[in-house]
């Protein structure tokens, strides 16, 4: 009995200590200063600091190829320091699924919080994809966009190889463009289709008189379904597909699409600590306060747009929902399409099935 009492007492003291002792926390951004996720980290950490006045929050920029080394090192080493928090983005989610060099596992971590957002595709008003090929900027994080295009162009009930051939016939996948260069090429008409996150869509597409909404991927729900975006109603990929072909999208290719789009959009910006990190409660508490603080939200929205937060255990549930999409067939099909249609050297990572 006394052992139990002592244990409870020790745990209470530890919890109290972790809640009150001032710490220096390091947020690890996988990019160099000024890049997208670093900018997001800058602003979120600045606002978070206001809700953790006794602690010191600092940022470590840890750039590397395809933003992977920081996340790998967090997995192998940095996460065991309880003051380290890693910030991941949607591209890390896609790399996790299909790149051998990505050696991290979201399942080994606990979520502090994540932003769940949508990606919206646009096209030139004058473009007629029945008569001309789609000209779209290639990037490894755009696998879901390519798969949606393949299904919209080619219809239901096709094999992966058939979708691949059809995609190549209908789409010019233009390599070597950076995001800003792609936007300019779209305005000049060299590209006739593009995609953006909601904030960038408002900024770059809605003001372009020659552009129009094409489709969006929908918003991931806790039960694993995707629903229409109220900001762009009626343009969810699934709705457009059903309107065009009279059947709902389904089958192996669709499952592969659902897997990769969920990992990209559902984890577009996420903060993680090691599993059972004693500081997590403090961080989650501060993030909750920040997400309820209108001034903080206004500051964040001004820079990165308005997205919904999933915080603490809800973030873990969100992650678990995503992990539930992983199965051998979907993973295999996604990798095959990436390799054959997009020339991305993707790898089937059977370890993810464990």
């Amino acid at each position: 009995m006394s052992t139990i009492k002592n244990t409870v007492l020790a745990m209470s003291v530890a919890l109290t200590m972790s809640a009150t002792v001032a710490e220096t926390f390091t947020f690890i951004s996988p990019q160099k200063p000024g890049a997208g996720t670093s900018v997001w980290t800058d602003i979120v950490v600045k606002e978070l600091q206001k809700h953790m006045p006794n602690d010191t929050l600092k940022i470590r920029y840890y750039p590397g190829a395809r933003d992977i080394p920081a996340i790998n090192d967090f997995q192998s080493e940095l996460r065991f320091d309880d003051t380290n928090i890693v910030v991941s983005h949607g591209g890390n989610g896609v790399s996790f699924l299909q790149e051998n060099v990505a050696k991290y596992n979201y399942g080994d971590w606990d979520s502090v919080g994540a932003m769940n957002l949508n990606i919206i595709a646009a096209k030139q008003k004058s473009a007629n994809f029945n008569k001309e090929r789609i000209r779209f900027q290639a990037k490894s994080g755009r696998v879901p966009d390519a798969m949606a295009m393949a299904m919209l162009m080619c219809g239901p009930n096709k094999s992966i190889s058939e979708y691949t051939s059809c995609f190549k016939e209908n789409v010019i996948w233009v390599k070597g463009m950076k995001t800003a260069g792609g936007r300019l090429a779209f305005i000049r008409g060299e590209l006739n289709a593009t995609r953006e996150n909601p904030a960038a869509y408002k900024k770059h597409i809605e003001q372009n008189p020659d552009a129009e909404l094409w489709f969006h991927h929908g918003i991931l729900q806790a039960d694993g379904t995707h629903i229409d975006d109220v900001n762009y109603p009626g343009f969810q990929f699934e709705i457009l597909f059903e309107n065009k072909y009279g059947v709902k999208p389904e089958g192996r290719f669709y499952n592969a699409y659902k897997l990769v789009k969920s990992f990209r959009d559902g984890l577009q910006k996420a903060m993680w600590v090691n599993k059972n990190n004693p500081n997590r409660a403090k961080l989650v508490d501060a993030l909750t306060k920040m997400s309820n603080d209108p001034d903080s939200q206004k500051a964040i929205e001004k820079k990165v747009g308005r997205y919904d937060w999933v915080i603490g255990d809800a973030g873990n549930d969100h992650r678990d929902t995503l992990m539930g999409f992983i199965n051998s067939t979907a993973l295999h099909d996604m990798v095959k399409f990436s390799n054959d249609a997009l020339d991305i050297k993707a790898t089937y990572k059977k370890d993810l099935l464990k």
Partner: protein
């Protein structure tokens, strides 16, 4: 202008003047230092004012070391030195400095106004320039920097360019998204970073050369107000020469890949050519040999910003650092976002024009005190320069890898300087390699050959590239005396 903008302007001007005065330093080195402090600015637009003030002030300030010590502060003052230093030895240092500063200031204000006030209007070009035009324009930058800026040693220029292209291609292959030339070193996955490359290629070799250079040890008097007035009157008498120098500098600045000493030497050559029977021989203290090149350097700095801002293609080596600094501040050059950002252009205008005027006034009024700084032995500030350069160059990861890259780049820079392999060609190859490759891929994907023939600007640029190539290969350089 609010108090913070004014503070950024004055601080940038004084810093630029100081870095310009120091022999072997100059705009490029001064801008590299900024990477260690640029994150401290509370507002990125203040940083833009500061950066442009540094560019303007350092260009004017480098006259001092050339005239007083016989050492150019940067390449841009080397032509001024040819006649400025002999004038100083004759007891006319203030006369030479006054003429140089006046010419530099007037041309800086004139060409700076033409550039920066009209820059938002030039931006329509980026909607006209598609992938093929950008490809051809980038090729023009590579050809001019290799064959024109260093035509005496053009074969070494090609070698340097190829080396730069190779280093620039280290990283990720855009076609396959796989690592390339990284030698299994993860650090190189994002490519070689620009800062240690520029610091190693330019700043460190110049600073080491500065240690070795022997300056004039005799003290030259510089406190004559009468000479200041004479200098200004000399500019008025040679106003067309000053204007021609400015025009040459402005033209060279617009061309991507050129800049630096080339405009100055061309302007000097024009001054020599315009006076076949001079009263005082050129090279012996002819004031026209000061006014001609000084007209070119500030004008060239201003117009170099046109290709830099519009297309993200640096107009000169210093502009490559400006490009990287703006990128650090989240200003993406060559994009529509930036072009719609009037505050950005206002900050550039304030920074460049106000600093040009301010540094001109300071130099004319305080020549005596500024000269005292120029005379401070190099060995006193060399350790600080090296420390700041290293600090600014190792900010990518802060780990030993950054130091290793800086060391390697410094060795390359020292060897290239010693054996006259064009460092600008190496730098431009490095900076533009990824762009050329990406544009080549895009052109292949988007344009059939017959569609290219329908694009007159593309055809014009390709003909210009071929013309420059032919000119560079066949014409003996008029700049050999540089």
């Amino acid at each position: 202008m609010d108090i913070l903008s004014l503070t950024a302007l004055v601080a940038g001007t004084l810093y630029g003047l100081l870095i310009g005065i120091i022999p072997g330093a100059g705009a490029t080195t001064g801008l590299i230092f900024l990477f260690s402090i640029i994150g401290l600015f509370p507002d990125p637009y203040l940083a833009v004012i500061f950066i442009m003030a540094v560019v303007a002030a350092s260009t004017t300030g480098d006259t001092y070391s050339g005239v007083l010590l016989g050492i150019p502060g940067a390449n841009s003052a080397a032509a001024t030195m040819v006649d400025g230093f002999p004038l100083a030895l004759k007891g006319k240092a203030t006369y030479a400095i006054s003429a140089a500063v006046t010419t530099s200031t007037i041309n800086g204000l004139f060409w700076g106004s033409l550039t920066f006030f009209l820059l938002p209007y030039y931006t329509k070009l980026i909607l006209i320039f598609g992938v093929p035009e950008l490809w051809a324009f980038t090729m023009l930058a590579l050809v001019t920097v290799t064959f024109v800026s260093n035509s005496t040693y053009w074969f070494r220029g090609i070698v340097a360019l190829l080396a730069g292209l190779f280093i620039g291609l280290i990283g990720i292959d855009p076609a396959t998204a796989l690592d390339r030339f990284t030698f299994s070193w993860d650090y190189l996955g994002n490519g070689v970073q620009i800062l240690p490359m520029v610091a190693g290629l330019f700043a460190i070799p110049e600073m080491i050369a500065g240690l070795r250079q022997k300056s004039c040890t005799s003290k030259i008097e510089v406190d004559s107000w009468q000479q200041t007035v004479w200098g200004m009157k000399a500019v008025w008498r040679n106003k067309w020469l000053a204007f021609r120098g400015g025009f040459i500098g402005a033209f060279i600045g617009i061309l991507p890949g050129l800049g630096g000493a080339m405009a100055d030497w061309m302007a000097y050559g024009a001054a020599v050519a315009s006076d076949p029977n001079p009263k005082v021989a050129f090279g012996k203290g002819n004031i026209k040999g000061v006014i001609g090149p000084e007209g070119a350097n500030n004008a060239q700095k201003a117009t170099s910003m046109i290709p830099t801002v519009l297309f993200g293609i640096p107009g000169a080596p210093f502009a490559a650092i400006v490009l990287a600094l703006f990128s650090y501040l989240d200003f993406e050059l060559g994009t529509l976002d930036l072009i719609a950002d009037t505050k950005f252009f206002d900050s550039m205008i304030i920074g460049f024009l106000a600093a040009t005027a301010l540094v001109g006034v300071l130099c004319l009024l305080l020549t005596k005190y500024i000269a005292a700084i120029a005379r401070l032995p190099y060995k006193y500030y060399f350790p600080f320069l090296i420390a700041f350069i290293v600090l600014a160059s190792v900010q990518y990861t802060g780990g030993w890898e950054d130091y290793a890259i800086l060391l390697i780049a410094s060795l390359i820079g020292l060897l290239a300087k010693k054996y006259k392999f064009s460092r600008p060609a190496l730098l431009f190859g490095f900076i533009l390699a990824e762009r050329i490759e990406a544009l080549s891929l895009q052109m292949h994907d988007l344009y059939a050959f017959d569609r290219l023939l329908d694009r007159p600007i593309f055809i014009g640029l390709i003909l210009t590239v071929l013309g420059v190539l032919l000119w560079g290969l066949t014409r003996k350089s008029t700049l050999e005396y540089s």
